[in-house]
């Protein structure tokens, strides 16, 4: 059923810390590795070892250069996967009911047996969270590792999404964002977590934490003034060359 649930009992989602993400892409690999051999069709690659490789990924890490008004430019690594929106436009456009949002935990899933591969949900998603698998001909998306988080065959510490489990920097957090007392909700409140493209009214469940302000150069060290360059004008041979060239 492609009508969205009025409310969901829980709002499971991710909180991604842009301050601590080091851009190692381990979450991309862990995601592909888990999801290519578990829930649904495998995540195929086309021409993986050839000249024009391409493949299906449910999680991709972009990198952005941020130049603040004062100070040095910095790099922000930006992992992006399905945000499991409360008002998910990808769900309502589906003609077959293959796309749905679960009322119990808010996870947005695709029933691949019903997907006709029309691609309309991928168009409707502003975030590029859905990718059509070129081999299977069905729409793939982040399942929030629904086959891990409730999986009693796994040890308790592994019952979280593969991307969260693998992140060496601790930049990814998983939990119930509908519960204001949960760890992830408190983290969002403490760090000023934000939504992506909030104006589009999708109400994403996943939140992003902004990079913390960096140290300023002029506060770095009391010895800094002594490290100023001592020679403003060249001396010796270079000085002579400089003066000779000036005279020409």
């Amino acid at each position: 059923m492609t009508s969205l649930p009025e409310t969901t009992q829980r709002k499971l989602g991710l909180v991604i810390d842009l301050d601590t993400c080091v851009g190692c892409h381990a979450c991309v690999i862990a995601c592909k590795s888990w999801n290519t051999e578990n829930y649904g069709a495998p995540l195929s690659d086309q021409d993986p070892y050839g000249a024009a490789p391409s493949g299906t990924f449910l999680n991709r890490v972009h990198s952005y250069e941020i130049t603040p008004p004062h100070g040095q430019a910095q790099l922000v690594h930006f992992p992006k996967s399905c945000l499991h929106c409360e008002d998910a436009p990808c769900v309502t456009v589906c003609p077959t009911g293959a796309s749905y949002k679960r009322s119990e935990d808010g996870i947005v899933l695709v029933n691949e047996a019903d997907c006709i591969g029309c691609g309309l949900c991928a168009w409707a998603c502003p975030y590029g969270a859905r990718e059509m698998d070129q081999t299977a001909g069905v729409m793939k998306k982040c399942t929030l590792c629904v086959d891990r988080i409730y999986n009693e065959n796994l040890p308790p510490e592994d019952r979280e999404p593969a991307c969260v489990r693998t992140c060496p920097a601790g930049a990814r957090h998983f939990g119930d964002l509908g519960d204001p007392d949960s760890d992830v909700s408190q983290l969002v409140a403490a760090r000023g977590g934000f939504d992506l493209m909030p104006d589009l009214g999708t109400k994403p469940v996943n939140k992003y934490l902004p990079p913390r302000p960096k140290d300023q150069w002029d506060e770095t060290d009391i010895l800094a003034p002594f490290l100023e360059p001592v020679a403003d004008s060249p001396q010796g041979f270079l000085g002579w060359l400089d003066r000779a060239l000036e005279r020409l």
Partner: protein, 292 residues
């Protein structure tokens, strides 16, 4: 957006076919017998041919029947239902008109309404997508509907109606382009809102997630074909609306000129549909440092 040939052909041909069915249902012209047979053959060839072409872009066309289920929320599902209902009702209407020489007017009106509904639901599939600001505007359904009615009236040989809809269609086509050009900026999404990093400073996409391309880039960040956009607009407007209008304004226009007008209109509409997709910018392009 990627201008997939199957979707361009589908929207162009089925738009024409259902446009023709609207007029046949309303009794413009009030045909029966063999003449009706030829008219309905053309209408069904275009509309059904277009619908078949649209299934070529599906990953699993064999599951297409499942698409009739979600009419409560999905415009694509509503389109499928409206199209089949229109074809069935008009089929019954055609059966009586061709073989029994009687036109059941009420059936024709219902069929015409369903045919018009099909064109509107097709248009709404594009209009509903907020992530493509050029499509997400009130002129989109108006543009696709008038274009369909202009082609339908031309095919039905309704000179006066064709003049009206070609004129209106041409004006709305221009308006859709001009308004569409500013829609992305109006929608207000930028790399800053996409990443939420506006407060940190000036943002530049430094590195894409992968060295290769991917489905999102191929499907939604398509830029090929924008190079000749202005020339294609002139071709679309000239062949799609201006030339056919001029041809049918010639007093005592013959069938030959009418046929030429139809052909010109179809070529123009193909160019228009190419631009409809190729110039549509999806906000996901912002994540890749593209404007769309």
């Amino acid at each position: 957006m990627h201008p997939a040939p199957s979707v361009i052909i589908f929207t162009t041909l089925s738009g024409l076919g259902f446009g023709l069915l609207v007029f046949l249902g309303l009794g413009f012209p009030p045909v029966t017998g063999w003449v009706a047979f030829v008219f309905f053959l053309i209408a069904y060839a275009l509309s059904v041919g277009g619908l078949l072409a649209s299934t070529f872009h599906l990953g699993h066309p064999e599951r297409a029947l499942k698409a009739f289920r979600q009419w409560r929320t999905s415009w694509l599902s509503r389109e499928a239902i409206a199209a089949v209902a229109a074809l069935l009702v008009m089929g019954l209407y055609a059966l009586f008109a061709v073989f029994f020489g009687t036109r059941i007017a009420a059936l024709g009106w219902i069929g015409a309404a369903l045919s018009l509904a099909t064109v509107i639901t097709t248009a709404m599939i594009y209009t509903q997508i907020k992530a493509v600001p050029r499509w997400h505007q009130a002129l989109t359904p108006l543009h696709l509907t008038t274009a369909s009615l202009a082609g339908g009236a031309l095919l039905a040989g309704q000179i006066t109606l064709a003049q009206i809809f070609l004129f209106l269609g041409g004006i709305i086509q221009i308006a859709h382009w001009l308004r569409g050009d500013g829609r992305f900026a109006q929608a207000g999404q930028s790399i800053a809102s996409a990443t939420g990093l506006s407060e940190a400073g000036r943002i530049r996409a430094f590195e894409a997630p992968h060295t290769g391309t991917n489905y999102l880039l191929r499907e939604m960040v398509h830029v090929v074909g924008r190079k000749h956009a202005q020339r294609l607009r002139i071709i679309a407007l000239g062949l799609g609306f201006v030339l056919p209008l001029t041809l049918i304004l010639i007093p005592g226009a013959s069938h030959g000129l009418g046929g030429l007008a139809v052909l010109s209109h179809i070529l123009g509409m193909l160019a228009s549909r190419w631009l409809f997709f190729a110039q549509a910018e999806h906000v996901v392009g912002l994540y890749y440092g593209a404007r769309g």
